[in-house]
Symmetry: C2
């Protein structure tokens, strides 16, 4: 039978989600636990998508196939007992045999945290990007409006991403709010290109600093040229918040 799991992880110690040689990844750790539970049989997991090194997840999802007849609640307990304490399975449920954690995604939500205060906060160093300059919140919020909707996001996709297919995506929500010393950027969309959220945030921060105008977003989108957008914001401020299925 096919199981769908939701997992949160602190990406600080990992080289990202996807298995790669000579580096510890989230996928590898989870697959090792599943292999233990299956007495040595290799179990492949399929996530909603990858996350880069140092990127965190609140609600990443993956599916896997198993012959073990374990109640849903016990799956969660058994996996968490084996996982290290920076990875936590928050739910496991049975799904249809043709369900796919990546292909069946209808929406994803990412958040990006910026600590906007003069001093660094040691407790936030791995979970938000520190920006000391005063930021114009209203201008970033204006710019967010230009991101919402259906656009070709070629300019906001890493140039070396090697994505074939269409770079048109629909962003349902792009917002920026301030809570004390923290700027929280939220993006909800049909899908995201490689590095898209980090390039969007990098560009929005330049707008917040007054180096660009909110309407520049429109020009950047139209140009379909990665070099027109801002710098890629660092990975450690990014959280995959949730994945939605129909």
């Amino acid at each position: 039978m096919r199981m769908l799991a939701t997992v949160s992880y602190d990406g600080t110690a990992y080289a990202g989600y996807q298995v790669q040689p000579n580096a510890v990844t989230i996928q590898e750790i989870i697959e090792k636990c599943l292999r233990k539970m299956h007495k040595g049989q290799a179990i492949r997991i399929h996530a909603s998508g990858r996350t880069d090194a140092k990127v965190h997840a609140i609600g990443q999802t993956f599916h896997f196939d198993t012959n073990l007849a374990i109640p849903e609640h016990n799956w969660k307990q058994a996996l968490n007992a084996l996982l290290p304490n920076d990875i936590f399975i928050s739910s496991v449920q049975q799904v249809a045999d043709d369900f796919h954690a990546r292909f069946d995604v209808t929406a994803k939500e990412y958040r990006y945290y910026v600590r906007n205060a003069k001093d660094q906060d040691v407790f936030q160093r791995n979970y938000s990007f520190h920006v000391g300059e005063t930021m114009n919140l209203a201008k970033m919020q204006q710019a967010c409006h230009f991101i919402e909707g259906e656009h070709d996001f070629t300019s906001f996709c890493a140039a070396n991403a090697g994505v074939k297919g269409s770079k048109v995506r629909t962003i349902y929500q792009a917002t920026c709010e301030k809570n004390r010393d923290t700027l929280i950027f939220t993006f909800k969309g049909s899908g995201f290109l490689y590095n898209m959220v980090r390039i969007l945030v990098g560009t929005l921060l330049e707008i917040g600093k007054g180096k660009r105008e909110p309407s520049d977003i429109v020009e950047i989108l139209t140009s379909k040229d990665r070099t027109k957008a801002g710098r890629t914001a660092p990975a450690h401020g990014l959280f995959l918040q949730s994945v939605t299925y129909q």
Copy 2:
């Protein structure tokens, strides 16, 4: 001249504040940075007190003597440029030559964080103690009242502490509040014995779970017997919040 510095640190990676052989401590790291700034001359720092392995600080303080004529603001910058990113100096100021960071303390505030929810939160794993059971907040708040005031805290001092002198301390404030899934215990007092906050919290949690009554605090205080109090709560939920001087 004598300088007083305020420092925040994430204690996760350290064997505590005080220098000890074969372990990396906060004191050692800061003294190394000061030695670099003083071209190899050893500079000893004197903190308001020690913190144990994995205990954090928002506002720990220490003093040191120097012959370097550097403006106060530049001290902060220079030290932070040398320190690792889990230690941050938030201020440096000149003080009187007879000031002492430990002997001149008039009050200290500690906070202890408990994540009180069924599931663990990977992002809180190093910064709060996870307690899954339902807790009786009102009973813990009642018990806090019995802690306030001047008492002999022998029962709440680690048995192996080897403290000579009086174990009478005055607690100005002992409170427990709940913010979403987090219980925050705050203790403000004239001084604290070794492990005192952690033993107080361990005992309060047993009251919260219904294993003891709030009035048990009075009996435990009167007994002057460490074995009557609860278990020592783990170090990683504890924060030295601030140190007050006259």
